[in-house]
Protein backbone atom coordinates (compact mmCIF):
# COMPACT_ATOMS: atom_id res chain seq x y z
CA UNK A 1 0.00 0.00 0.00
CA UNK A 2 2.88 2.30 0.80
CA UNK A 3 4.33 1.62 -2.64
CA UNK A 4 1.07 2.23 -4.38
CA UNK A 5 0.42 5.61 -2.80
CA UNK A 6 4.01 6.44 -3.51
CA UNK A 7 3.51 5.85 -7.21
CA UNK A 8 0.33 7.85 -7.19
CA UNK A 9 1.83 10.95 -5.63
CA UNK A 10 4.99 10.60 -7.70
CA UNK A 11 2.82 10.73 -10.81
CA UNK A 12 0.93 13.71 -9.50
CA UNK A 13 4.19 15.54 -8.99
CA UNK A 14 5.60 14.38 -12.31
CA UNK A 15 2.61 15.21 -14.49
CA UNK A 16 1.70 18.36 -12.62
CA UNK A 17 -1.96 17.58 -13.33
CA UNK A 18 -4.88 15.87 -11.68
CA UNK A 19 -4.59 12.10 -11.84
CA UNK A 20 -8.23 11.43 -11.19
CA UNK A 21 -9.30 7.94 -12.00
CA UNK A 22 -11.08 7.55 -15.30
CA UNK A 23 -14.80 6.98 -15.10
CA UNK A 24 -16.31 3.66 -16.02
CA UNK A 25 -17.87 3.81 -19.49
CA UNK A 26 -20.62 1.97 -21.27
CA UNK A 27 -20.54 1.30 -25.00
CA UNK A 28 -22.95 3.29 -27.13
CA UNK A 29 -23.54 4.04 -30.80
CA UNK A 30 -22.79 7.39 -32.39
CA UNK A 31 -25.30 9.22 -34.54
CA UNK A 32 -24.42 11.80 -37.13
CA UNK A 33 -24.69 15.56 -36.72
CA UNK A 34 -26.69 17.60 -39.25
CA UNK A 35 -25.28 17.03 -42.74
CA UNK A 36 -23.42 19.73 -44.58
CA UNK A 37 -22.53 20.28 -48.20
CA UNK A 38 -18.92 19.18 -47.70
CA UNK A 39 -19.93 15.62 -46.88
CA UNK A 40 -19.39 13.13 -49.65
CA UNK A 41 -20.29 9.49 -50.28
CA UNK A 42 -17.99 7.16 -52.18
CA UNK A 43 -18.69 3.62 -53.27
CA UNK A 44 -16.23 0.76 -52.83
CA UNK A 45 -16.35 -1.74 -55.67
CA UNK A 46 -13.77 -4.02 -54.03
CA UNK A 47 -13.20 -5.82 -57.31
CA UNK A 48 -11.50 -8.78 -55.61
CA UNK A 49 -14.43 -9.24 -53.26
CA UNK A 50 -17.52 -7.76 -54.83
CA UNK A 51 -19.84 -9.53 -52.39
CA UNK A 52 -18.56 -6.92 -49.95
CA UNK A 53 -19.52 -3.67 -51.71
CA UNK A 54 -19.56 -0.67 -49.38
CA UNK A 55 -20.33 3.03 -49.32
CA UNK A 56 -18.24 5.39 -47.21
CA UNK A 57 -19.34 8.79 -45.94
CA UNK A 58 -16.55 11.32 -45.38
CA UNK A 59 -16.34 14.93 -44.27
CA UNK A 60 -14.18 16.93 -46.67
CA UNK A 61 -13.46 19.65 -44.11
CA UNK A 62 -12.30 17.52 -41.19
CA UNK A 63 -10.97 14.66 -43.28
CA UNK A 64 -12.84 12.22 -41.06
CA UNK A 65 -14.77 9.11 -42.03
CA UNK A 66 -18.31 9.56 -40.72
CA UNK A 67 -19.85 6.18 -41.39
CA UNK A 68 -20.36 3.30 -43.79
CA UNK A 69 -23.01 1.18 -45.43
CA UNK A 70 -22.62 -2.43 -46.53
CA UNK A 71 -24.30 -2.63 -49.90
CA UNK A 72 -24.26 -6.20 -51.17
CA UNK A 73 -22.91 -7.59 -54.43
CA UNK A 74 -21.40 -5.35 -57.15
CA UNK A 75 -23.09 -2.17 -55.97
CA UNK A 76 -23.09 1.02 -58.08
CA UNK A 77 -24.29 3.92 -55.90
CA UNK A 78 -27.13 5.04 -53.65
CA UNK A 79 -29.79 7.71 -54.11
CA UNK A 80 -31.35 10.01 -51.59
CA UNK A 81 -34.47 12.14 -51.55
CA UNK A 82 -34.34 15.92 -51.94
CA UNK A 83 -34.47 16.54 -48.16
CA UNK A 84 -31.86 13.86 -47.39
CA UNK A 85 -34.41 12.09 -45.21
CA UNK A 86 -33.91 8.64 -46.68
CA UNK A 87 -31.09 6.90 -48.48
CA UNK A 88 -32.26 4.48 -51.16
CA UNK A 89 -29.67 1.88 -52.03
CA UNK A 90 -30.25 -0.62 -54.84
CA UNK A 91 -28.55 -3.80 -53.62
CA UNK A 92 -28.17 -7.37 -54.84
CA UNK A 93 -27.83 -10.42 -52.59
CA UNK A 94 -27.31 -14.11 -53.28
CA UNK A 95 -28.47 -16.52 -50.59
CA UNK A 96 -25.08 -18.24 -50.59
CA UNK A 97 -22.93 -15.18 -51.25
CA UNK A 98 -21.89 -16.01 -54.79
CA UNK A 99 -24.54 -18.63 -55.57
CA UNK A 100 -28.08 -19.59 -54.62
CA UNK A 101 -31.17 -17.45 -54.91
CA UNK A 102 -30.70 -13.84 -56.02
CA UNK A 103 -32.70 -11.10 -54.33
CA UNK A 104 -32.60 -7.49 -55.51
CA UNK A 105 -33.78 -4.84 -53.11
CA UNK A 106 -33.85 -1.14 -52.55
CA UNK A 107 -32.50 -0.91 -49.04
CA UNK A 108 -33.64 2.17 -47.15
CA UNK A 109 -31.33 3.76 -44.58
CA UNK A 110 -31.82 6.61 -42.15
CA UNK A 111 -29.13 9.17 -43.09
CA UNK A 112 -28.76 10.20 -39.45
CA UNK A 113 -28.27 6.76 -37.92
CA UNK A 114 -27.16 4.82 -41.04
CA UNK A 115 -29.46 2.02 -39.86
CA UNK A 116 -31.39 0.00 -42.43
CA UNK A 117 -35.01 0.96 -41.80
CA UNK A 118 -36.80 -0.92 -44.57
CA UNK A 119 -36.35 -2.64 -47.91
CA UNK A 120 -38.31 -2.98 -51.12
CA UNK A 121 -37.86 -6.17 -53.11
CA UNK A 122 -37.60 -5.51 -56.85
CA UNK A 123 -37.17 -7.86 -59.82
CA UNK A 124 -33.77 -9.60 -59.74
CA UNK A 125 -32.68 -7.90 -62.94
CA UNK A 126 -30.79 -4.79 -61.85
CA UNK A 127 -27.82 -3.75 -64.00
CA UNK A 128 -24.63 -5.36 -62.72
CA UNK A 129 -21.31 -4.02 -63.88
CA UNK A 130 -18.73 -1.36 -63.30
CA UNK A 131 -20.57 1.29 -61.28
CA UNK A 132 -22.38 3.96 -63.28
CA UNK A 133 -24.30 6.91 -61.92
CA UNK A 134 -27.30 6.25 -64.15
CA UNK A 135 -28.06 2.69 -62.97
CA UNK A 136 -31.07 4.12 -61.04
CA UNK A 137 -32.76 7.47 -60.45
CA UNK A 138 -35.26 9.09 -58.11
CA UNK A 139 -37.85 11.45 -59.58
CA UNK A 140 -37.39 15.10 -58.74
CA UNK A 141 -40.56 15.07 -56.62
CA UNK A 142 -39.21 12.11 -54.56
CA UNK A 143 -42.21 10.02 -55.63
CA UNK A 144 -40.72 7.26 -57.83
CA UNK A 145 -37.49 5.38 -58.26
CA UNK A 146 -36.54 3.87 -61.59
CA UNK A 147 -34.00 1.03 -61.68
CA UNK A 148 -32.26 0.12 -64.92
CA UNK A 149 -32.37 -3.63 -65.66
CA UNK A 150 -30.11 -5.59 -67.99
CA UNK A 151 -30.60 -9.37 -68.32
CA UNK A 152 -29.54 -8.68 -71.29
CA UNK A 153 -33.14 -7.63 -72.01
CA UNK A 154 -33.45 -3.98 -71.09
CA UNK A 155 -36.17 -2.60 -68.87
CA UNK A 156 -36.97 -0.30 -65.97
CA UNK A 157 -38.33 -1.39 -62.59
CA UNK A 158 -40.58 1.32 -61.18
CA UNK A 159 -40.84 1.73 -57.41
CA UNK A 160 -43.38 3.80 -55.51
CA UNK A 161 -41.26 5.50 -52.89
CA UNK A 162 -44.20 6.86 -50.91
CA UNK A 163 -45.84 3.45 -50.46
CA UNK A 164 -42.54 1.65 -50.50
CA UNK A 165 -43.49 -0.93 -53.06
CA UNK A 166 -42.47 -2.16 -56.45
CA UNK A 167 -45.06 -1.13 -59.05
CA UNK A 168 -44.22 -2.71 -62.39
CA UNK A 169 -41.61 -3.17 -65.04
CA UNK A 170 -41.45 -1.19 -68.29
CA UNK A 171 -39.72 -2.79 -71.26
CA UNK A 172 -37.20 -0.45 -72.88
CA UNK A 173 -35.55 -2.46 -75.66
CA UNK A 174 -32.39 -0.85 -76.97
CA UNK A 175 -32.32 1.81 -74.27
CA UNK A 176 -30.09 1.97 -71.20
CA UNK A 177 -29.29 4.00 -68.08
CA UNK A 178 -31.85 6.25 -66.43
CA UNK A 179 -31.94 9.97 -65.54
CA UNK A 180 -34.41 12.13 -63.67
CA UNK A 181 -34.86 15.86 -63.94
CA UNK A 182 -37.64 18.39 -64.06
CA UNK A 183 -41.12 16.93 -64.29
CA UNK A 184 -42.01 13.45 -63.05
CA UNK A 185 -40.17 11.74 -65.82
CA UNK A 186 -37.19 9.53 -66.54
CA UNK A 187 -35.02 9.56 -69.61
CA UNK A 188 -32.80 6.85 -71.09
CA UNK A 189 -30.15 6.75 -73.81
CA UNK A 190 -30.80 4.38 -76.67
CA UNK A 191 -28.03 2.69 -78.63
CA UNK A 192 -29.40 3.96 -81.94
CA UNK A 193 -28.74 7.58 -80.98
CA UNK A 194 -32.16 8.52 -79.63
CA UNK A 195 -33.51 9.14 -76.13
CA UNK A 196 -36.50 7.46 -74.51
CA UNK A 197 -38.78 9.44 -72.18
CA UNK A 198 -40.97 7.83 -69.53
CA UNK A 199 -43.44 10.34 -68.09
CA UNK A 200 -45.28 8.90 -65.12
CA UNK A 201 -48.81 9.49 -63.89
CA UNK A 202 -49.72 9.17 -60.20
CA UNK A 203 -49.83 5.38 -60.48
CA UNK A 204 -46.52 5.19 -62.25
CA UNK A 205 -48.07 4.36 -65.60
CA UNK A 206 -46.18 5.54 -68.62
CA UNK A 207 -46.22 5.57 -72.41
CA UNK A 208 -42.59 5.74 -73.45
CA UNK A 209 -41.76 8.28 -76.18
CA UNK A 210 -38.69 8.17 -78.47
CA UNK A 211 -36.84 11.35 -79.38
CA UNK A 212 -35.25 12.12 -82.72
CA UNK A 213 -31.71 10.87 -83.19
CA UNK A 214 -29.29 13.22 -81.46
CA UNK A 215 -25.98 11.37 -81.87
CA UNK A 216 -24.43 8.91 -84.27
CA UNK A 217 -23.14 5.86 -82.36
CA UNK A 218 -20.71 5.03 -85.17
CA UNK A 219 -19.03 8.38 -85.60
CA UNK A 220 -19.14 10.19 -82.25
CA UNK A 221 -20.94 8.19 -79.61
CA UNK A 222 -22.37 9.75 -76.45
CA UNK A 223 -20.64 8.27 -73.40
CA UNK A 224 -22.27 6.71 -70.34
CA UNK A 225 -20.67 9.26 -68.01
CA UNK A 226 -22.64 12.43 -67.30
CA UNK A 227 -23.21 15.21 -64.79
CA UNK A 228 -26.45 16.74 -63.56
CA UNK A 229 -26.98 20.48 -63.90
CA UNK A 230 -30.32 21.38 -62.30
CA UNK A 231 -33.01 20.24 -64.69
CA UNK A 232 -30.42 19.49 -67.32
CA UNK A 233 -27.78 16.83 -67.76
CA UNK A 234 -24.41 17.28 -69.42
CA UNK A 235 -23.36 14.41 -71.67
CA UNK A 236 -20.10 13.95 -73.53
CA UNK A 237 -19.19 12.52 -76.89
CA UNK A 238 -16.17 10.35 -77.53
CA UNK A 239 -14.47 13.20 -79.37
CA UNK A 240 -14.88 15.48 -76.36
CA UNK A 241 -17.96 17.57 -77.12
CA UNK A 242 -20.38 18.61 -74.42
CA UNK A 243 -24.03 17.82 -75.18
CA UNK A 244 -26.33 19.55 -72.69
CA UNK A 245 -29.85 18.14 -72.51
CA UNK A 246 -32.65 20.04 -70.80
CA UNK A 247 -35.11 17.60 -69.21
CA UNK A 248 -37.22 20.16 -67.33
CA UNK A 249 -40.31 19.35 -69.35
CA UNK A 250 -39.84 15.61 -69.33
CA UNK A 251 -38.86 15.14 -72.97
CA UNK A 252 -35.29 16.06 -73.75
CA UNK A 253 -34.36 19.34 -75.38
CA UNK A 254 -31.01 18.97 -77.04
CA UNK A 255 -28.80 22.04 -76.90
CA UNK A 256 -26.01 22.62 -79.40
CA UNK A 257 -22.94 20.55 -78.59
CA UNK A 258 -19.67 22.40 -78.12
CA UNK A 259 -16.09 21.14 -77.94
CA UNK A 260 -14.14 20.95 -74.67
CA UNK A 261 -10.83 20.55 -76.49
CA UNK A 262 -9.18 22.78 -79.07
CA UNK A 263 -7.97 21.28 -82.34
CA UNK A 264 -4.43 21.41 -80.97
CA UNK A 265 -5.42 19.66 -77.78
CA UNK A 266 -7.16 16.92 -79.76
CA UNK A 267 -4.03 16.52 -81.88
CA UNK A 268 -2.06 16.35 -78.67
CA UNK A 269 -4.21 13.36 -77.57
CA UNK A 270 -5.99 15.11 -74.70
CA UNK A 271 -9.08 13.12 -73.78
CA UNK A 272 -11.79 12.73 -71.21
CA UNK A 273 -11.27 9.59 -69.19
CA UNK A 274 -11.95 7.71 -66.00
CA UNK A 275 -15.00 6.24 -64.29
CA UNK A 276 -16.59 9.52 -63.22
CA UNK A 277 -14.86 12.24 -65.19
CA UNK A 278 -17.42 15.05 -65.14
CA UNK A 279 -19.07 17.01 -62.34
CA UNK A 280 -20.87 20.33 -62.19
CA UNK A 281 -21.08 22.91 -59.41
CA UNK A 282 -24.46 24.55 -59.87
CA UNK A 283 -23.65 27.44 -57.56
CA UNK A 284 -20.73 28.53 -59.69
CA UNK A 285 -22.07 27.19 -63.02
CA UNK A 286 -18.81 25.37 -63.53
CA UNK A 287 -18.11 22.07 -65.21
CA UNK A 288 -15.08 20.07 -64.02
CA UNK A 289 -13.74 17.33 -66.26
CA UNK A 290 -10.93 14.86 -65.70
CA UNK A 291 -8.51 14.75 -68.63
CA UNK A 292 -5.38 12.88 -69.70
CA UNK A 293 -3.29 12.32 -72.78
CA UNK A 294 -3.89 8.90 -74.25
CA UNK A 295 -4.73 6.72 -77.20
CA UNK A 296 -8.01 5.89 -78.86
CA UNK A 297 -9.16 3.42 -76.21
CA UNK A 298 -7.69 5.13 -73.17
CA UNK A 299 -11.15 6.16 -71.95
CA UNK A 300 -10.67 4.37 -68.62
CA UNK A 301 -7.21 5.74 -67.99
CA UNK A 302 -6.65 7.92 -64.94
CA UNK A 303 -6.62 11.68 -65.43
CA UNK A 304 -3.70 13.89 -64.55
CA UNK A 305 -5.59 17.18 -64.76
CA UNK A 306 -8.98 18.68 -64.12
CA UNK A 307 -10.15 21.34 -66.53
CA UNK A 308 -12.83 23.78 -65.47
CA UNK A 309 -15.38 25.38 -67.82
CA UNK A 310 -17.81 28.25 -67.37
CA UNK A 311 -21.08 26.74 -68.58
CA UNK A 312 -22.65 30.10 -69.35
CA UNK A 313 -19.75 31.45 -71.38
CA UNK A 314 -18.79 27.98 -72.70
CA UNK A 315 -15.11 28.67 -72.17
CA UNK A 316 -12.42 26.99 -70.14
CA UNK A 317 -11.54 29.12 -67.13
CA UNK A 318 -9.04 27.06 -65.15
CA UNK A 319 -6.75 24.06 -65.40
CA UNK A 320 -5.94 22.13 -62.25
CA UNK A 321 -2.96 19.83 -62.21
CA UNK A 322 -3.80 17.07 -59.75
CA UNK A 323 -1.37 15.98 -57.06
CA UNK A 324 -2.69 12.42 -57.43
CA UNK A 325 -3.90 10.85 -60.67
CA UNK A 326 -7.62 10.14 -60.46
CA UNK A 327 -10.31 8.06 -62.15
CA UNK A 328 -13.26 9.79 -60.45
CA UNK A 329 -14.00 13.35 -59.44
CA UNK A 330 -16.87 15.15 -57.77
CA UNK A 331 -17.44 18.74 -56.63
CA UNK A 332 -19.64 19.67 -53.70
CA UNK A 333 -22.81 21.64 -54.30
CA UNK A 334 -22.08 24.81 -52.36
CA UNK A 335 -20.60 28.18 -53.28
CA UNK A 336 -17.18 27.29 -51.82
CA UNK A 337 -16.94 23.89 -53.37
CA UNK A 338 -14.49 21.13 -52.59
CA UNK A 339 -13.22 18.90 -55.35
CA UNK A 340 -12.97 15.22 -54.36
CA UNK A 341 -10.84 12.84 -56.37
CA UNK A 342 -10.17 9.10 -56.17
CA UNK A 343 -8.27 6.50 -58.14
CA UNK A 344 -10.21 3.26 -58.38
CA UNK A 345 -7.08 1.19 -57.84
CA UNK A 346 -5.88 3.04 -54.74
CA UNK A 347 -7.59 3.24 -51.39
CA UNK A 348 -8.30 6.77 -50.15
CA UNK A 349 -9.76 10.01 -51.47
CA UNK A 350 -8.19 13.42 -52.00
CA UNK A 351 -9.77 16.79 -51.29
CA UNK A 352 -8.93 19.98 -53.18
CA UNK A 353 -10.22 23.50 -52.89
CA UNK A 354 -12.19 23.51 -56.14
CA UNK A 355 -11.74 27.23 -56.75
CA UNK A 356 -8.01 27.49 -56.10
CA UNK A 357 -7.15 23.94 -57.15
CA UNK A 358 -4.98 23.53 -54.06
CA UNK A 359 -4.80 20.09 -52.46
CA UNK A 360 -6.25 20.30 -48.95
CA UNK A 361 -5.99 16.79 -47.57
CA UNK A 362 -5.96 13.08 -48.21
CA UNK A 363 -8.42 10.82 -46.42
CA UNK A 364 -6.59 7.52 -46.41
CA UNK A 365 -7.88 3.96 -46.22
CA UNK A 366 -11.28 4.85 -47.64
CA UNK A 367 -12.51 1.91 -49.77
CA UNK A 368 -10.36 -0.72 -51.46
CA UNK A 369 -11.47 0.47 -54.90
CA UNK A 370 -13.14 3.87 -54.54
CA UNK A 371 -15.10 4.31 -57.72
CA UNK A 372 -18.18 6.54 -57.74
CA UNK A 373 -18.87 9.62 -55.66
CA UNK A 374 -22.29 10.98 -54.88
CA UNK A 375 -22.68 14.30 -53.15
CA UNK A 376 -24.84 14.95 -50.12
CA UNK A 377 -27.48 17.58 -50.87
CA UNK A 378 -28.46 18.58 -47.36
Amino acid sequence: MKYRLGIFFALLALGGIVAAELEVETPRTATLPAPNAHWMWIGDLNFNAMEASKAFLVDGDSGQMLGMLSTGYFFSSALHDSQYKNIYSPEVYLSRGTRGERTDIIAIYDPKTLEPTDEIVIPAKHYSGIPITAHAAISTDDRFIAVYNFTPAQSISLVDVQNRKFLHEVETPGCAEVFAAGARAFNMICGDGTMLTLKLDDSGNTEPVRSAKFFDPRTDIIDDKMARYGDSWAFFTKSGKLQMIDMAGGEPKFESPWPLFTVDEVADNWKLGGYQYATICEQTNELYVLVHRGGEYSHKDPGSDVWVYDLKAKVRTRMISLDHAATSIQVTTDAKPLLFTAHAEHSGVHVYDALSGVHQRTISEIAVNPLLFWAVHP
Binding site: A49, I130, G191, N269, S298, H299, K300
Partner: protein
Amino acid sequence: MGWFDNLSERSVRSVARRSARRSFLSRFGFALVGATTIPALPVARAASARMPAPDESGIAGDPGNPQSCDYWRYCSLDGFLCACCGGSQNSCPPGTEPSPVTWIGTCRNPEDGKDYVISYNDCCGKGGCGRCFCNTNEGDTPVHRPTLDNDINWCLGTKSNAYHCSTGIVIGVATEILR
Protein backbone atom coordinates in the same frame (compact mmCIF):
# COMPACT_ATOMS: atom_id res chain seq x y z
CA MET B 1 -16.94 -8.11 -67.30
CA GLY B 2 -14.28 -5.58 -67.51
CA TRP B 3 -12.56 -3.07 -65.40
CA PHE B 4 -10.06 -0.31 -65.15
CA ASP B 5 -6.58 0.23 -66.43
CA ASN B 6 -3.86 -0.68 -63.99
CA LEU B 7 -1.11 0.58 -66.23
CA SER B 8 -0.90 4.27 -66.73
CA GLU B 9 1.96 3.67 -69.13
CA ARG B 10 -0.25 1.48 -71.24
CA SER B 11 -2.04 4.49 -72.62
CA VAL B 12 1.22 6.08 -73.65
CA ARG B 13 2.43 2.93 -75.32
CA SER B 14 -0.91 2.37 -76.99
CA VAL B 15 -0.91 5.76 -78.67
CA ALA B 16 2.06 4.72 -80.75
CA ARG B 17 1.02 1.13 -81.27
CA ARG B 18 -2.49 1.95 -82.36
CA SER B 19 -1.59 4.86 -84.58
CA ALA B 20 0.67 2.56 -86.61
CA ARG B 21 -1.97 -0.08 -86.83
CA ARG B 22 -4.73 2.30 -87.79
CA SER B 23 -2.81 3.56 -90.80
CA PHE B 24 -2.14 -0.03 -91.82
CA LEU B 25 -5.80 -0.87 -91.52
CA SER B 26 -6.98 2.23 -93.31
CA ARG B 27 -4.73 1.39 -96.22
CA PHE B 28 -5.96 -2.16 -96.67
CA GLY B 29 -9.46 -1.83 -95.27
CA PHE B 30 -10.87 -4.16 -92.64
CA ALA B 31 -12.23 -7.02 -94.70
CA LEU B 32 -10.18 -10.20 -94.58
CA VAL B 33 -12.98 -12.57 -95.50
CA GLY B 34 -11.21 -14.19 -98.43
CA ALA B 35 -8.63 -15.68 -96.14
CA THR B 36 -11.24 -17.71 -94.28
CA THR B 37 -11.28 -20.26 -97.08
CA ILE B 38 -7.76 -21.48 -96.39
CA PRO B 39 -8.18 -24.62 -94.28
CA ALA B 40 -6.54 -25.27 -90.92
CA LEU B 41 -3.73 -27.76 -91.37
CA PRO B 42 -3.48 -31.01 -89.41
CA VAL B 43 -0.37 -29.82 -87.59
CA ALA B 44 -2.44 -27.16 -85.84
CA ARG B 45 -4.94 -29.69 -84.59
CA ALA B 46 -2.35 -32.13 -83.33
CA ALA B 47 -0.60 -29.43 -81.35
CA SER B 48 -3.74 -28.42 -79.51
CA ALA B 49 -4.24 -31.93 -78.15
CA ARG B 50 -1.31 -31.91 -75.72
CA MET B 51 -1.40 -30.06 -72.38
CA PRO B 52 -0.07 -26.56 -73.03
CA ALA B 53 2.48 -24.95 -70.77
CA PRO B 54 1.17 -21.95 -68.83
CA ASP B 55 3.07 -19.53 -71.05
CA GLU B 56 1.73 -20.82 -74.34
CA SER B 57 -1.68 -21.07 -75.90
CA GLY B 58 -1.40 -24.76 -76.82
CA ILE B 59 -2.78 -23.99 -80.26
CA ALA B 60 -0.68 -23.73 -83.39
CA GLY B 61 -0.87 -20.33 -85.04
CA ASP B 62 -2.02 -18.79 -81.76
CA PRO B 63 1.07 -17.11 -80.34
CA GLY B 64 1.61 -15.68 -76.89
CA ASN B 65 1.03 -16.36 -73.23
CA PRO B 66 -2.64 -16.67 -72.21
CA GLN B 67 -1.62 -15.76 -68.65
CA SER B 68 -0.41 -12.38 -69.86
CA CYS B 69 -2.56 -9.35 -70.60
CA ASP B 70 -0.45 -8.85 -73.74
CA TYR B 71 -1.83 -12.03 -75.34
CA TRP B 72 -3.43 -10.90 -78.60
CA ARG B 73 -6.91 -12.26 -77.88
CA TYR B 74 -7.26 -9.98 -74.87
CA CYS B 75 -7.34 -6.70 -76.85
CA SER B 76 -10.75 -5.71 -75.48
CA LEU B 77 -10.77 -7.51 -72.17
CA ASP B 78 -11.43 -6.11 -68.75
CA GLY B 79 -11.25 -8.56 -65.86
CA PHE B 80 -9.29 -11.44 -64.35
CA LEU B 81 -7.74 -13.85 -66.82
CA CYS B 82 -9.24 -17.34 -66.44
CA ALA B 83 -5.93 -18.77 -67.65
CA CYS B 84 -4.49 -17.67 -64.29
CA CYS B 85 -7.41 -19.08 -62.28
CA GLY B 86 -7.45 -22.77 -63.17
CA GLY B 87 -9.00 -22.31 -66.61
CA SER B 88 -7.44 -21.26 -69.90
CA GLN B 89 -7.94 -18.64 -72.58
CA ASN B 90 -10.98 -20.62 -73.73
CA SER B 91 -12.18 -22.57 -70.71
CA CYS B 92 -13.63 -21.63 -67.34
CA PRO B 93 -11.96 -22.71 -64.10
CA PRO B 94 -13.45 -25.75 -62.33
CA GLY B 95 -16.85 -25.11 -60.78
CA THR B 96 -17.63 -22.01 -62.81
CA GLU B 97 -20.04 -21.66 -65.70
CA PRO B 98 -19.39 -19.73 -68.92
CA SER B 99 -21.87 -16.96 -69.62
CA PRO B 100 -23.98 -17.75 -72.70
CA VAL B 101 -24.12 -14.05 -73.64
CA THR B 102 -21.00 -11.96 -73.95
CA TRP B 103 -19.34 -8.86 -75.20
CA ILE B 104 -17.12 -9.18 -78.22
CA GLY B 105 -14.01 -7.54 -79.53
CA THR B 106 -11.98 -7.61 -82.72
CA CYS B 107 -8.34 -8.55 -82.19
CA ARG B 108 -5.51 -9.08 -84.60
CA ASN B 109 -3.57 -12.36 -84.41
CA PRO B 110 0.04 -11.30 -84.93
CA GLU B 111 0.92 -14.64 -86.47
CA ASP B 112 -1.54 -14.77 -89.35
CA GLY B 113 -2.25 -11.04 -89.40
CA LYS B 114 -5.99 -11.66 -89.36
CA ASP B 115 -8.56 -9.87 -87.28
CA TYR B 116 -10.64 -12.31 -85.25
CA VAL B 117 -13.91 -11.77 -83.46
CA ILE B 118 -13.29 -12.67 -79.84
CA SER B 119 -16.09 -13.50 -77.44
CA TYR B 120 -15.18 -12.63 -73.87
CA ASN B 121 -17.27 -15.18 -72.04
CA ASP B 122 -17.27 -14.48 -68.32
CA CYS B 123 -17.01 -17.45 -65.97
CA CYS B 124 -19.63 -17.31 -63.24
CA GLY B 125 -20.68 -18.77 -59.91
CA LYS B 126 -17.76 -17.95 -57.64
CA GLY B 127 -16.33 -14.72 -56.27
CA GLY B 128 -13.58 -12.84 -58.10
CA CYS B 129 -10.48 -14.89 -58.87
CA GLY B 130 -8.25 -11.89 -58.13
CA ARG B 131 -5.40 -12.89 -60.44
CA CYS B 132 -4.01 -11.38 -63.66
CA PHE B 133 -6.27 -8.39 -63.86
CA CYS B 134 -6.25 -7.15 -67.44
CA ASN B 135 -7.81 -4.07 -68.96
CA THR B 136 -7.31 -3.32 -72.62
CA ASN B 137 -10.57 -1.84 -73.89
CA GLU B 138 -10.04 -1.78 -77.66
CA GLY B 139 -13.44 -1.06 -79.14
CA ASP B 140 -15.14 -0.92 -75.74
CA THR B 141 -18.42 1.01 -75.95
CA PRO B 142 -20.79 2.64 -73.41
CA VAL B 143 -23.50 0.79 -71.48
CA HIS B 144 -26.09 1.78 -74.12
CA ARG B 145 -24.13 -0.19 -76.75
CA PRO B 146 -23.88 -3.34 -74.64
CA THR B 147 -22.63 -5.85 -77.21
CA LEU B 148 -19.18 -4.28 -77.21
CA ASP B 149 -19.22 -3.13 -73.57
CA ASN B 150 -16.70 -4.81 -71.32
CA ASP B 151 -17.92 -2.95 -68.18
CA ILE B 152 -21.05 -5.04 -67.90
CA ASN B 153 -21.10 -8.11 -65.67
CA TRP B 154 -21.94 -10.65 -68.34
CA CYS B 155 -22.82 -13.36 -65.84
CA LEU B 156 -26.34 -13.37 -67.24
CA GLY B 157 -28.38 -16.44 -67.99
CA THR B 158 -26.10 -18.43 -65.70
CA LYS B 159 -27.09 -20.21 -62.49
CA SER B 160 -25.33 -17.46 -60.55
CA ASN B 161 -24.71 -13.81 -61.33
CA ALA B 162 -21.32 -13.81 -59.56
CA TYR B 163 -18.30 -12.91 -61.72
CA HIS B 164 -15.11 -15.01 -61.39
CA CYS B 165 -12.94 -14.35 -64.48
CA SER B 166 -12.98 -13.80 -68.25
CA THR B 167 -11.99 -15.89 -71.25
CA GLY B 168 -11.26 -14.82 -74.83
CA ILE B 169 -12.79 -17.24 -77.31
CA VAL B 170 -12.27 -17.25 -81.08
CA ILE B 171 -15.66 -17.18 -82.75
CA GLY B 172 -14.64 -16.25 -86.27
CA VAL B 173 -12.63 -14.02 -88.53
CA ALA B 174 -13.78 -10.41 -88.58
CA THR B 175 -15.34 -9.17 -91.77
CA GLU B 176 -15.18 -5.65 -90.39
CA ILE B 177 -14.05 -3.97 -87.19
CA LEU B 178 -17.11 -3.97 -84.95
CA ARG B 179 -18.31 -0.69 -83.46
